[in-house]
Symmetry: C2
């Protein structure tokens, strides 16, 4: 092989080894010192872009220099989801074993569209999703498939629902059909925005989404769903699906799935359970009821990248009627036709996305490294920490809790008006030790503390509480609401 | 911190360091020895699954043991996309710098839905897509966004087209609207199946997709498109979009984008260019015309995970009317409302997927490590190798080339009937040194050799040619077609 040809190849294995070792040390150091960074990045809009060249370099640069620029240019603009003081949105963990397995997945770089394009990727996905299904207590009738995000899992669930309800929708679509009335999808007031986007994407229109009232604990009221179904069908709407949420984004409230399934059954609508965040809790002793009734649903999404220590992205859709998804999307062009020695599952048939990363590897590594017991204990600890924080809020003078704490998220507010709470949140987050987010509940600005990072200990939660109290005292003029 | 609490955390940084170093060595050894594996996995369907336990372990296991099982159980089921003899589908490269940067992305585990959830992820994406846009010769009017796959990029392009053409489609959808006729999307006979899936997903129905005839070099015939538009509009169809392909999957043919834009303009339809594979070639001196006319299109997809040395997954959509995508999908629930010091771009507004990995990091690393010059040279070398192979085919007695070679893919067949060519492909792939795929052209089984891996040298292409010739001679009874 000529020097010229060689020069044109990839980074040499020995260079990869050297740079890889350097990067492992960088990451290990980072993981050991992440608490030293401000959780929420302090850069100004445009600051990172301004520090980067406007054009790609003409000549190649050593990887070492690129890594140095990560430190110099990019790290100030990182909001540290790994920080034990990250309490915003849903706190997540890219755990060590998950990160290492994801590294291996990048290195293998297989594309599991067909069984033959890497049998291990297809079969490990099936096996690991079987493990997870058992851990969650779901029946075997649920076939699993991995997508990137819950948004995409829910798109597929609702596409399958549309396929099941609208005759020939795959071929004929929705427009100009006398036989297809306006379609309806139901979810609670507190369901995730991904349901809105899915309905829009699928051509049903945002008006197709009817949000059902919740009780005072933010759970869908089955009677309200029943009334909506009666009203809509009387008015000529065709109910397609109900999305029940187990662990809503704002408060982690749990819709009564069993009752919803009962209400929905006579209408033959698809019931999809969005358990993206809270589904994992079903593994925890005492929390088996988390997915109560889900065995009667048609599909369920749970995101190991949320509360199951798996690096982003990995969302799992379990479906009792995966054939509806296949019916909607299976389509094999000539260049992807294969014949194997026995029937195989080609994962491209269960998705809009043809290409797929070897994602099951990281979930497999996480489940094995921590073990079922280790995962249960960690989830239980997160729930314990959130409840402890809730107790502190409840026992306090200046703060009020505004929602139940079924899992690891606490919603609360300072006993003052909205602007005060907003200023409080900004001041707390500006401190750099913790990062909380917010929502609106009963039309009032509400603070949210979400526990979910494996590095978070009781000390961090206690520190968050101290900071909140101290900051509230320092802010000017709290106004009683 | 008590021992108990500590035990509940993540893998310790020092353990991560130790296991990370072990894994880097494993990957470096693998990269140095990938040629020793059979390219196409030889396992039987079900073999990998059968070698795995049926349930997750109760107790955690050391990472070392997991890695040992990668070797023992999974590696036999890997089809090696990294192998220099991988000539199937589109050959790709998860290059060293790309893999390392993707590792860093997994470790940082930031989720770039909002600017504030990691400013660097948002701003680096903008900067790097600016670099790539310049390298491709696209005008600045094209705003870029990263998705996972071309399938999803095309879904967004066609959703934007629908948004632009159908009044209030976001709100009202497609069903039961007297003001919305049946919709049409156009592409060539050789366009990718992702266009079919997108049209189905969007509720237009598969019949909405009208495939336009190609010339004898597999390029869409603009006059045929023009005739279809005339016919369809006369018959009450509403044209929504035309998808022109630059580098079709079977033959890498290039639709005449400039002419297609001209034909489409009077109809106000969206022109989307699928340059997922071949777009990168526009960087190569002498190949600037690859994207000729694309400046007049509305959107264009190019996949750095295909022919730009970036590990899977990373697809880029460039769009001149990104506001149509925002109009279709921007939607901010209370819990994601943010106010920053200056206007920022929140990437969740340009997509169906809320969550997004820090993907720009790996593209940035690839562009910097190789440099524009290094990338051009590597792409040019792949083109050279494919043309060399084409010359050998052309000069041979027993084989015939059946399509032009605009880039790095050669379509050819043995001068015999289809069953012989199928047996030939199976026998060649069974040998383990090379892996080719197939397609059908003019209704005949056709072999495809795709160059695209950085480890592939002239010697590997020559070896593929030798194996093909020798295997053809050994097979029983070739029948002249």
């Amino acid at each position: 092989m000529s020097a010229k040809r060689r020069k044109l190849g990839d980074m040499e294995p020995e260079e990869f080894r050297r740079e890889g070792h350097r990067l492992v040390d960088w990451i290990a150091d980072y993981m050991g010192s992440v608490e030293l960074y401000p959780v929420l990045s302090r850069v100004k809009p445009g600051q990172i872009a301004a520090a980067l060249p406007e054009t790609a370099p003409e000549r190649g640069e050593p990887f070492e220099k690129i890594l140095a620029d990560v430190d110099r240019v990019l790290m100030p603009g990182i909001t540290h989801w790994n920080h034990p003081g990250f309490f915003a949105y849903f706190a997540i963990t890219g755990s060590g074993p998950g990160v290492l397995a994801d590294f291996l997945s990048s290195a293998l770089n297989v594309q599991a569209m067909l069984w033959r394009t890497s049998p291990s990727a297809t079969e490990l996905e099936e096996v690991v999703l079987g493990w997870l299904r058992d851990l969650l207590g779901l029946p075997e009738a649920f076939e699993g498939v991995i997508y990137d995000t819950a948004s995409i899992s829910t798109v597929h669930a609702l596409a399958a629902a549309r396929e099941a309800v609208v005759p020939d929708v795959r071929t004929l679509g929705l427009a100009q059909r006398a036989d297809v009335p306006r379609l309806r999808v139901y979810c609670s007031e507190h369901a995730h925005s991904s349901v809105d986007k899915a309905v829009i994407l699928l051509g049903m229109g945002h008006e197709a989404l009817r949000r059902i009232d919740c009780d005072d604990e933010f759970r869908m009221i089955p009677d309200a769903l029943a009334a909506a179904l009666v009203e809509d069908t009387a008015n000529g709407w065709l109910p397609v699906a109900v999305v029940a949420t187990v662990g809503t984004t704002s408060t982690t409230s749990v819709d009564p799935v069993r009752d919803i399934v009962e209400v929905a059954r006579p209408y033959n609508v698809w019931v999809h359970v969005d358990a993206a965040y809270a589904g994992a809790a079903a593994m925890v002793p005492g929390f088996e009821a988390t997915l109560d009734g889900a065995d009667g649903a048609d599909s369920l999404v749970v995101n190991p990248h949320k509360w199951l220590f798996t690096p982003f992205d990995l969302s799992v859709l379990y479906c009792r009627r995966m054939d509806a998804i296949r019916k909607a999307f299976a389509l094999t062009p000539d260049y992807l036709e294969t014949v194997e020695a026995a029937p195989v599952r080609n994962l491209m048939d269960t998705g809009v996305q043809l290409g797929r990363r070897f994602r099951s590897l990281k979930l497999w590594a996480v489940l094995r490294y921590f073990g079922a017991k280790g995962i249960r204990e960690r989830l239980a600890e997160h729930i314990r920490l959130a409840r402890l924080f809730a107790e502190w809020v409840d026992a306090s003078d200046g703060f009020t809790r505004v929602a139940p704490v079924p899992f690891s998220v606490v919603c609360f507010r300072a006993d003052a008006d909205d602007p005060f709470n907003e200023r409080l949140l900004d001041a707390v987050n500006a401190g750099g030790e913790v990062f909380l987010s917010h929502t609106r509940l009963q039309d009032r600005f509400t603070l949210r503390l979400a526990v979910g990072n494996l590095r978070t200990t009781e000390a961090h939660v206690a520190r968050a509480w101290t900071i909140l109290q101290e900051t509230a005292l320092q802010l000017p003029s709290p106004v009683e609401p």
